[in-house]
């Protein structure tokens, strides 16, 4: 069970990339809302979309980890 656990843990490290990416995107989004408050709606839509897409790579890591644990 030891190596399996380490393998699954390494697989989930992809979450770090998603966290950094979404953090940067949110920073830029809040900056642009501060600069132009009328575009709030469009910026919010773009932000949500970008976050959902960036989240995908973290999800891939999660699915692989589940597969690793499941296949033992």
């Amino acid at each position: 069970m030891g190596l399996i656990a380490i393998g699954a843990a390494i697989a989930v490290l992809t979450g770090a990339g998603a966290g950094v990416g979404i953090g940067i995107a949110t920073a830029k989004a809040t900056e642009s809302i501060a600069r132009q408050p009328e575009a709030k709606g469009d910026i919010r839509t773009a932000l949500l979309l970008g976050c959902a897409l960036a989240e995908a790579t973290a999800i891939y890591g999660f699915v692989i980890a589940i597969l690793i644990i499941g296949k033992a």
Binding site: L49, A52, E55, A56, I59, F62, V63, I66, G70
Partner: protein, 220 residues
């Protein structure tokens, strides 16, 4: 932990007793239920449509208007004939993700369902290319290796994104229910994971499909 892993597999609901028994999976039965619900809702809401809308017809027209404008904004006027397909896709995926709230197992938790949805979406994109520009141009576009690779990676990412999100929501909810506390806390977590995430993933899936379609049918 083993209990959790067991629940991740898809179970057979019943077996059709012809040709040596065809197993019908859990997710298939729930999909039938969703189909019945959507058909019933469609029949109920479209009875006695009036020229000047009132009540429930107002809400319905509002939703369809919003969806129409959203997709036409991405596809342009040429995309009018693909609207029914895309709107059906988003309604089905939204229902499928949300039906976890009613005690059923969401069919999108089964990777076969999401793979089928991704396959259908990509076939629709290629078909839109062929309809707009003809089959010869489609074959010529496949000579570019990036387009060929896209044919494989795009459905894979669509499938895995939807499946991973629904599976992750399910796992977290199970852990909260069994590990933390079965009353109160799941409501907040469910509101985020089930409702928000489910709707967002349906939106992202269909938005990406329409984006690929817009790329395929645009004039150069």
């Amino acid at each position: 932990m083993d209990n959790l892993l067991e629940e991740l597999q898809s179970k057979t609901a019943f077996t059709i007793p012809i040709l040596g028994g065809i197993p019908v999976a859990d997710s298939c039965v729930v999909t039938w239920i969703i189909m019945a619900v959507i058909v019933l809702l469609s029949i109920i809401f479209t009875r006695k449509l009036k020229k000047v809308p009132t009540g429930s017809q107002c809400i319905l027209e509002g939703i369809i208007d919003w969806l129409d404008n959203f997709f036409l904004g991405i596809l342009g006027q040429k995309g009018k004939k693909y609207l029914p397909f895309l709107e059906t896709l988003i309604i089905y995926i939204a229902f499928a993700n949300l039906i976890g709230l009613f005690g059923f197992v969401p069919p999108t938790k089964d990777v076969n369902v999401t793979a089928a949805l991704a396959g259908v979406a990509i076939i629709a994109v290629q078909l839109s290319f062929i309809i707009e520009k003809g089959p010869l141009k489609w074959l010529k576009s496949l000579l570019n290796p990036i387009n060929l690779l896209d044919l494989v990676t795009r459905p894979l990412s669509l499938c895995m994104r939807l499946f991973g999100n629904v599976l992750g929501a399910f796992v977290v909810m199970e852990l909260i229910k069994t590990g933390l506390c079965a009353i109160g806390v799941p409501v907040i977590a469910s509101a985020y994971f089930d409702i928000f995430d489910g709707l967002l993933q349906a939106y992202v899936f269909v938005f990406l499909t329409s984006l690929y379609m817009a790329e395929a049918i645009e004039e150069e």
